[in-house]
Amino acid sequence: MKVFYFLGVFAVLMLAASFFEMPWSRTTEDSAEQELIVLKSTAMGAMAMFSILFAIAATALLIPKDLEDRTLYTILSKPVPRLDYLIGKLAGVLILVTVSLLLMNGLLSIILHFKTEELLLVEMAKAEAHGWSAEHLELRLSAVAQQGVTWTLQAGIGAILFKAMVMASLALLISTFSSSTLFTIVIAVVIYFMGHFTEDARNYWLHSQSGGVSKEVKLMTQGIALIFPDFQLYNIIDSTIEGKKVPQGIFTRLAILTLFYSGIYSVLAWFTFRKKEF
């Protein structure tokens, strides 16, 4: 239920952001684009924060809650494989994240659409006033439209969902051996932040070991990269906010990477949960 309160807050935030006139607005040439970018980054920042925090917190609570209520006893005493139980719980959280992201995405797209239309009209008015050439107008219009509702933007929102998916399965894994919910959440958040530096850390480590890097070290860093998700690739979220195009290949790679991480974490979660006693 609290999810829906958040969605309400998000809606208000979005509406407020769309009516808010930036102080510097309409002074420079590309102010229209800037305005759209601010709108997008506010909205997508909130979306990312919500979906990732929700994915972590909700998943971390799943097993402890069932255990506390003793519903776990009745569920696991039915002919339900433990893997199915885990996957079912994870799927529940992911469906909730997906639905709320879709709703927020819908709202963002509507507002962004109207805002873009409005700004396009402004550009046309400017063109008439300043007597821009047809090419110049065309260029301006396409620059503004690029910051509107595009497939690129949808790819960015997809990447947010992917990130939430990785974090949910990671939180599930931690919760199968952690003894407190708080521990699960804290560790998951720490790993989340570390995930943004995995690549840098690995590169730094490999370069500082100048000369020959032994095979073992390479394997070890690769092992660490497996345990700590590498979120470098997920930075396309930021580029989509700025309206940069995301190649199809990158998005596909991201999808595969996400499935890979979630799969590994789920399998590991199952390994610890399989033998768990209640």
Partner: protein, 298 residues
């Protein structure tokens, strides 16, 4: 008819690590028991004697430290052994935001039921535990007795051949607990095997045909109820509405006979209770004198 036991527990040992000492807590100590299909088995014992632990091991919720558990010949660590089991845990609790009906639908789905069969079963179960009026209410608002009943319905939803009840009448009022008892008798008539544990000895005596008494994780006495509580050389006569004259004449008849002695007359007792208390005394005596004399008065 069938010769595969519904429940077979072989030398089950379950130890829990104790947080501060090196020694482990032995909650269940070499328990063996066999329940044949159609039997109603009652496990009785004081708090903390290992009843719930035994049941959890039988359900695969705990892994035995040693020994093994089988349900209709299937190892209880395997998921498919649970196909035939319905379980009511002690103080059951469910997702409080679901209604009674939704709760049952959820458990029916877990058992692989779909569509029409599911609806029929849910209706049947709600009727059986007389919760039709509360079916749309949230389980969070249910009383303790109602929770216990929805728990029973949940345990029976897939028509299991074995039903395991951990203190089914705990916290239920006398009328409610009589209903639950009647339900158990009904199940028994249908040929369902019942494994229950309880502190309420009268009730165990009324419904169970086999009884095991467990103390400190050990089964100290087990067998058919009749054998356990029968006093071989005595006969009990139960008479309804006997007046003082009738009783006097019966006494006279007994006094006249050659080797029969009149012992007592009164209201019938819960003999299982007497047995239980005797065993409790013996068990305490052995644990207390064990280190002094190594004696065994049992």
């Amino acid at each position: 008819m069938e010769d595969i036991p519904a429940v077979q527990i072989n030398h089950l040992v379950k130890e829990f690590p104790s947080p501060f000492r090196k020694t482990k807590i032995r909650a269940v100590d070499d328990v063996s028991l066999t329940i044949m299909p159609g039997e109603v088995y009652g496990l009785i014992g004081p708090n903390g004697s290992g009843k719930s632990t035994t049941m959890k091991a039988l359900l695969g919720l705990l892994r035995p430290t040693a020994g093994s558990c089988y349900v209709f010949g299937k190892n209880s660590l395997k998921t498919d052994s649970r196909q035939e089991i319905g379980f009511l845990p002690e103080n059951p609790y469910f997702y409080k935001h679901l209604s009674g009906e939704e709760t049952l639908r959820f458990y029916a789905k877990l058992c692989g039921m779909r569509g029409k069969a599911l609806n029929n079963h849910v209706d049947k179960m709600l009727e059986m535990v007389s919760l039709q009026d509360a079916r749309k209410r949230r389980v969070g608002g249910y009383s303790k007795g109602m929770l216990q009943r929805i728990g029973l319905a949940q345990a029976l939803i897939h028509e299991p051949r074995l039903i395991i009840l951990d203190e089914p009448t705990a916290g239920v009022d006398p009328v409610g607990s009589r209903e639950i008892r009647d339900l158990i008798v009904q199940l028994k008539d249908k040929g369902v095997t019942v494994f229950l544990c309880s502190h309420l000895l009268e009730q165990v005596q009324e419904v169970c045909d086999h009884v095991g008494i467990i103390f400190n994780g050990k089964i100290v006495k087990a067998g058919p109820l009749e054998d356990l509580i029968a006093i071989e050389d005595q006969t009990e006569i139960l008479i309804k509405d006997a007046g003082p004259r009738t009783l006097a004449r019966i006494k006279a008849v007994i006094a006249d006979s050659e080797n029969a002695d009149f012992i007592s007359m009164g209201k019938p007792r819960t003999t299982l209770e007497r047995l239980f208390l005797d065993e409790a005394k013996k068990s305490n005596a052995t644990t207390m004198t064990a280190d002094q004399k190594g004696g065994d008065r049992a």
